[in-house]
Amino acid sequence: MVSRSLNMGHRGVALAAPISVPYHRYTQQPASYFIGVALREMLQAASLDKTACDGLMVSSYSLIPDTVVSLAEIFGMSLNWTEQVPLGGAAGTVGLRRAARAIEAGDAEVIACIGGDTFIPEQFAGLLGRFSNFTIDGVTPYASGGANLPFAILTRAYMEDFGVPREGFGRLCVMQRNNALRYRQALIKKPLTMNDYLSARLIAEPLCLFDCVMPCAGAEGFLVMSEERAKRLRLPYALLRASAERHNGSKDISFPMSFGWGDFKGGLYNAAGFGPDQIDIVQVYDDYPVMALLQMEELGFFELGESSNYLSAEGFKFNNRMVHVNSSGGQLSAGQAGFAGGFMGLVEALRQLTGTALGNQIESVNKALVSGFGMVNYDRGLCTAAAILERS
C-alpha cells in the first residue's frame, strides 16, 4: 500500500497551451519533428519566445538515440531543467507530476511537456518485439503478438471472472467513436455501430479489430508554470490539484485485475479536496477497452467488473451526475501516436477545462480526472498514475 504520508497535493501549479499535433497514419518524419512542432505550437499559443521556456520534459520511444538534451540542442534551447520519462502510457501523468514539482521547488519557470513519436511501419514490429529484455525472451517468441497477446489474455479472464460480454467493451468503443466524430483531429472518422464492433475481424481472441488502437505518428503537449505566471501571461489555464504514481504495484498478485490506482486513490482524492462524486470528466488510458474499464473501476467509480453495465452514449451517471469519458475519442478512435497516447487524456482534459475543445466541448466541466497506464514488460502493465485538474 501507499504510505499515508506521501504528498500527492499541488498548489499553484497551472497547465496551459494544450497542443495536439495532427496525427499521421504513416510518415518518414522523425520523432523530433513532431515534438518540435508541438513545442512551436504551444509557445505560439502562449505568445512566448522559446527563451522563456527553461524546462523540457519529453517522452518518446522512437526518439532513440536522441534524448531530451539532444532536443535542446536541435531546438536551440538553453534549459535549467530537463526530464525524460520512458513510461509509455503513464508518461504524461508522471511527467506532469515531475514538472509540477520542479515548478513548486523553483527549479524551472516554464516547462514544456511533450509526448511524441513517429510511426514507420517497417520499424514497428521490431519496436514491439524488443520492448524489453523480458519481452524479447519471454513474450515475443510466442508468435509475436505484441501487446495484443497480454491484453487478449487479460480480456478473456475479465470476461469470464465478471461475466462481461463483448457488448460491454463495445459500448465503450461506440461511445468513444461518437466522441471522435466530433473531435476535429481524430484519425478515424467513420461511425461505429455495435454490430460493426461485434462483427469485426479477429485479432487475438477475444479482441477484434475495434478493440485495438491504430498506431500513428504525432505529438501532444502542454506548458506547466506557476498560476501566478499563467495569470500574468493572460493564458487560459487549469490547476493541478493532485497527482500520484505507483509502479509494479501488483507484484504480489498472481493474475491482477488491479494495477496500482487503488493503492493511491484515497490519498489522491484527499489531496484534491474532493472525490469522484465531483468529477465531471474522466480521461482514461484506453490502449484496450478492458483497461479503460478497469481504470474507472479501480479509481472508485464502480466495483470490479461492473463499469460496462453503466456506460451510455455520453459516459456514465455517478451519484446522479453525468461523467463524460474520453471526450476526444481516445486512442481507440483518435489513434495512438506512441507515447503521445499517454498525454492525450491530459491535453483533452485541459482543453475541456479551458473551454478550448477541438469540436466536442462539453458544458460545465470543472473537475477532471486523468489516468495513465504503461509498460507491459511481461504479463501486466507496470506503471499507473493519475492526476486531478480543476478549472481556474
Binding site: 514497428f124 514490429a125 521490431g126 514491439l128 518485439g129 524488443r130 529484455n133 523480458f134 524479447i136 525472451d137 519471454g138 513474450v139 515475443t140 517468441p141 510466442y142 508468435a143 509475436s144 503478438g145 505484441g146 495484443n148 497477446l149 497480454p150 487478449a152 489474455i153 487479460l154 478473456r156 479472464a157 469470464e160 475481424r201 479477429l202 485479432i203 487475438a204 481472441e205 477475444p206 479482441l207 498472481s254 493474475f255 511481461y378 504479463d379
Partner: protein, 168 residues
C-alpha cells in the same frame, strides 16, 4: 536454424526459460531436444525461483544462481488464439493458441498451447523445446498418455517454422 527468425527475434539468451545450453545440461541430447518440465534458475542463498533471471536473484539480489529443472504441472490462467502476428514466419501458421500458466513454483509463463485446452483453470503439463531460433520455449499440453508425442510433433513443426519444412 531459421536465421531470419533468429535476427528478427534477437533473443538475449538470458534464461527466461532454459537456453539450449542449460537444457542440454539438464539432460537434452541433440538439436531437436525436448525436455519435460521447465528449466529456470534458483538462488543458492535464499532458494527463490527466479524468472526473469538476468544475473541476479529477484528476492535477495544474489549472484549465486543455479539452473533448476522442475517437472511439476501448471494451471492455465487464461489464453488467446492469436490471428495477427508481427513476423512473417509466425504469420503463415496463424492462429496460434497461446496461454498464460501459473506454475506450482510460483512463477508465471507464456506457453504454446497444444491440443484441446479450452478453459481457464485447466491443469497442463509443460515441455521445454527449442524453437526455430534454437532458443527454448514452453509447450503446454493436457496431461495424458499421448502428451509427450503431441509435444514432440509440435516441437518438430516449430523447429522448422518459416523454412518450408527444410531444416539446416
Amino acid at each position: 536454424m531459421n536465421e531470419v527468425a533468429k535476427q528478427a527475434l534477437a533473443r538475449t539468451s538470458l534464461g527466461v526459460v532454459a537456453t539450449a545450453e542449460a537444457a542440454k545440461a539438464a539432460g537434452a541430447t541433440n538439436n531437436l531436444w525436448l525436455l519435460e518440465g521447465i528449466v529456470c534458475k534458483q538462488c543458492k542463498v535464499c532458494q527463490a525461483i527466479c524468472y526473469s533471471t538476468d544475473s541476479l536473484c529477484r528476492e535477495c539480489l544474489s549472484e549465486r544462481l543455479d539452473w533448476k529443472r522442475d517437472l511439476n504441472n501448471a494451471q492455465l490462467q487464461s489464453f488467446t488464439h492469436l490471428y495477427v502476428s508481427f513476423n512473417d514466419f509466425y504469420r503463415e501458421s496463424t492462429p496460434w493458441s497461446i496461454g498464460l500458466v501459473d506454475h506450482t513454483n510460483g512463477l508465471r509463463f507464456y506457453v504454446f498451447l497444444v491440443g484441446e485446452i479450452g478453459h481457464n483453470g485447466a491443469e497442463v503439463m509443460l515441455f521445454t523445446a527449442p524453437d526455430m531460433t534454437g532458443q527454448a520455449v514452453l509447450i503446454a499440453i493436457e496431461p495424458g498418455g499421448h502428451a509427450k508425442e503431441q509435444a514432440e510433433n509440435f516441437a518438430a513443426e516449430l523447429a522448422v517454422l518459416g523454412m518450408d519444412g527444410v531444416s539446416e
